[in-house]
Symmetry: C2
Subunit: 248 residues, 2 copies
DNA sequence: GCAAAAGTGTTAGCTGTACACCCATGA
DNA sequence: TCATGGGTGTACAGCTAACACTTTTGC
């Protein structure tokens, strides 16, 4: 990047008064519905201003004594009950004016959003019911206009999901403890699209990495030859951590 | 990841009072000294409590009306004068208690740090001199104990630099407009270590990507055959953006 | 037996690696 | 002319993509 010679002038600010912030955490929570082969995002409908009645990412403001990660888990736990998940920090959005509650003239409180990305197991995730259906899964390709800059955050999370899947074993955090190779393949297909790899090649590459244990137990899903159940072997994976491996 | 069945209980907080934040921006600013083949990080010596006399990452608190990115550029511009750089957001650190100025009992102001990662051209970067030598380049493998959690932030940035270099053309942001292929190679060697690739293979892979233009102009660096000067062709690179390409 | 699903094998072409080798210049 | 650094070529191993094939089940 080439910047003006005088970035000092350009980026100096007239006022030296510090901004006061509230910090929010917004979660992009994905799950994969393997029955219908679709990727879902958890949204909640706002019941207050600003953006009343808009759908938004589940979020919360950080409380006294609470860490960012804790706030992310709390938001998650308020919306769904789930035991197996992957969660990581995504990005922080802090432009002045991104929240209409900020008064543009008076330099009041600013709202910074630290976004988190989560992948949860769809089958076990129970939406904590409210009478009003204000929390619901949306297909990732049928997202309505969201409140605030949540479209941008969601898009950021969606890219992270697709990338992360290719070099990190997050899929095994949301698959059952024992799974068939075809279930892994379906998960990858659903997220990355049909055309990322042929099943037999995917299979041999994955097995060659050596961190999947064949339990030798067979399961039959309807007609056809029964499939072996595999387990993720975290000890065998450990040495591969931090290495630039590719799963697909 | 497997979490306790009751994450709701675990992560619920007694108080529902919101935390008040000041938001800081801390920059991990790298440069590569190609003369001595070493990676440098810009540090400044603190002249105030807390951590008086400790070295720290250059940082600042975000001002009213100022965006996070602007604050990052402002910090940079206060320390060094440089025209060519690459800058991106790194990670946000917001644990309660990460800044000793927070009063652990009274739940006062919290300090959140949004960290940024920058790569600048060493040869053109002039440290904006103060009488006291309070700003200085440090070799990345000889970093003293830093203030706050800046060791962790620096480590995070160092990993980002090594990864980013492999799939993104940030090197060309800090090389001269015209450069020899050997200069590119030296840069990669310095950051990734001697053993990442043999020169001739690096060379052919890089050229095959097709975004380097041979200007046909030759330069002689001492003895030996003169090298061709190349230019980065951003138009030719455009279609490769967002593709999972590897430079090494 | 036949369809369906799981799993194995084969091939052709490509890519990475490790070199050997040629080229152009300064001293 | 020789050392030095720039640049090209090659041969082999290993990988990928595409697809044919075998195995084991339910019906």
């Amino acid at each position: 990047m080439k910047v003006d010679s005088s970035i000092k002038q350009k980026y100096s600010h007239e006022t030296e008064e510090l901004a006061d912030f509230k910090v929010g955490v917004d979660n992009v929570i994905f799950s994969v519905d393997t029955t219908y082969n679709r990727v879902l995002v958890l949204l909640r409908k706002r019941a207050e201003e600003p953006f009343n009645n808009y759908w938004s990412l589940p979020g919360t403001l950080v409380r006294q004594g609470e860490s960012l990660t804790d706030a992310a888990y709390r938001t998650l736990a308020e919306k769904i009950q789930v035991d197996n998940l992957y969660l990581e920090q995504l990005y922080s959005f802090g432009e002045p004016g991104r929240d209409p509650r900020e008064n543009p003239d008076s330099f009041g409180i600013r709202y910074l959003s630290v976004s988190y990305f989560a992948l949860v197991r769809y089958e076990e995730a129970k939406i904590i019911a409210k009478s009003d259906k204000s929390t619901s899964w949306y297909k990732v390709d049928e997202i309505p206009n969201l409140a605030f800059d949540h479209d941008e955050i969601l898009n950021y999370g969606w890219n992270r999901l697709k990338n992360k899947l290719q070099y990190s074993p997050i899929a095994f955090d949301v698959l059952p403890t024992e799974f068939t190779l075809n279930e892994v393949y379906q998960l990858y297909c659903t997220i990355l699209g049909e055309h990322f790899s042929d099943y037999s090649n995917f299979r041999s590459r994955l097995l060659k990495l050596g961190f999947l244990l064949d339990t030798k137990v067979k399961v039959s899903r309807g007609a056809g030859r029964p499939a072996s159940l595999y387990k993720f072997d975290s000890e065998a994976f450990a040495p591969l951590k931090d290495k630039p491996l590719l799963f697909i």
